[in-house]
């Protein structure tokens, strides 16, 4: 109950809607690269399982499906990256977006290289090892049910037997109803947990996109600081040259004053004579 109050206090859906409104090709590429990263991690984990006792035909099938999935993701993200590059070339976009797109392209190439390495390793191990086929357990035949001979029982005993069997059936029905109620309630709880895990998954994806954007911002900050550093270094060298010129300038001014003094002295001597 208190959790719902916390949930009511901050509407997260509206923020997600606001975030979805700002989806442009660059963010789509970032999300695609993140998904490829996750899928490549899964693929590597499956590849590490090859050659172990867990290596089964199901694992090979799963490996194949994951490889196809990554191929599809790579194709989609490549198309989006090309679209973003076209926008960069055609439209008048700012330098920070170009830097972001260049960084995304570099990230994409790194992910592709990682995937190719994992694929090569998978191919080596698939040829080196054969999958472990578990022995099929033969289904055991059912025990033959007993043949109920009712001819030797009296009608009264037969009536009692029928009543007892009916009560057993009722008892079993009650037990089944009870267990079904318990199971239904448990299923509802598990579904709620699944829903919350799905929400947490969405939150993690949003967080990944945000962190990726902020990585681009930090790159901007880094490039700005480097440019400032270079410009300041050049300004410092210019100022040091100005300082040397100023010292020479002072020396020349002093020399000029001395000569002027000498001339004045000569004029005075001549006038006095």
């Amino acid at each position: 109950m208190s959790f719902q109050d916390i949930e009511a206090g901050r509407p997260f859906g509206s923020r997600r809607g606001l975030m979805n409104g700002k989806q442009d090709p660059t963010q789509a590429v970032a999300a695609g690269i993140f998904q490829i990263n996750t899928a490549v991690s899964t693929f590597q984990r499956l590849v590490n399982t090859l050659g172990t006792p867990k290596d089964t035909l199901d694992l090979r099938e799963k490996l194949h499906k994951t490889r196809l999935h990554i191929g599809q993701l790579v194709k989609d993200t490549s198309a989006k990256l090309k679209q973003a590059s076209d926008i960069d070339h055609h439209a008048e976009v700012n330098a920070s977006k170009k830097i972001a797109d260049a960084k995304l392209a570099k990230d994409f190439q790194a992910v592709l290289k990682e995937f190719q390495k994992a694929q090569r390793l998978a191919a080596e191990r698939e040829t080196a090892y054969t999958p472990f086929v578990p022995q099929a357990v033969l289904p055991s035949s059912y025990t033959a049910s007993e043949v109920d001979v009712g001819s030797d029982k009296s009608p009264e005993q037969r009536a009692l037997l029928v009543e007892s069997r009916r009560q057993e059936v009722l008892f079993l029905d009650n037990e089944i109803a009870f267990n079904e109620a318990i199971i239904e309630e448990r299923e509802q709880g598990i579904q709620e947990i699944q829903q919350q895990i799905g929400e947490v998954n969405e939150i993690f994806k949003d967080l990944a996109v945000l962190v990726h954007e902020q990585g681009a911002m930090i790159d901007d900050i880094g490039s700005n600081i480097e440019n400032s550093h270079a410009a300041t270094a050049q300004a410092k060298s210019q100022l040091s040259k100005a300082s040397k010129t100023q010292r020479s300038n002072s020396s020349l001014t002093c020399l000029l004053l001395v000569i002027f003094g000498i001339v004045l002295l000569i004029v005075i001597i001549v006038l006095a004579a």
């Binding site: 959790f3 009560q167 009650n174 895990i197 954007e213 902020q214 300041t232 410092k236």
Partner: protein, 224 residues
Amino acid sequence: MGILYGMVARGQVVLAEFSATQSNASVVAKQILSKINQGSDNNNDSNVSFSHDRYVFHVKRTDGLTVLCMADDAFGRIAPFAFLEDIHKKFVKTYARAILSAPAYAMNDEFSRVLNQQMEYYSNDPNADRLNRLKGEMTQVRTVMIDNIDKVLERGGRLELLVEKTSAMNSNSIRFKRQSRRYKNNLWWSNVRLTVALVIIFVIVVYIILAFICHGPLLSSCWR
């Protein structure tokens, strides 16, 4: 809301009970005892739930001992039946063979406190049910992640400010570079002008001295 009433009985005989609120739960419980004890074998084990107004009475019969509780309608079934199971175990472990011959309300003084504790536990403690605990933990995780999103958004805002400030610093440093170069050029030209003035004055002085030595403004005696 949780579990509001608990009772342990042998057949029709109530051995212990506890009620957390003032209600007619005891009367309804005795009616339920009468209903489930007639028309069926006394040794049948069963788990049933009876609905009454806004409450549900959950009944568990095991080995001739009946444990009953009343819970809110929205409280579900997993926790009340876990409560009944727990109470049954505690009762059998505590009183063992004395259950078979005890008179009515014989264990009420001691066991009603145990009933109260267990009712509190199964009503309020999330650890009583593993699913509920997991649900609570997932809610905590989601709350923490929402906080993380807020903090990352705030960090994004600060990073944007930092981008603007570093961009301004970049512009200022470029302007500083340009102005320092202009200043250097100005000083250089000033130096050049000073040198030229010095040379001119030197030439004038030399001319005056020669004019005196050669006895005339045109230096006529020095050209012969």
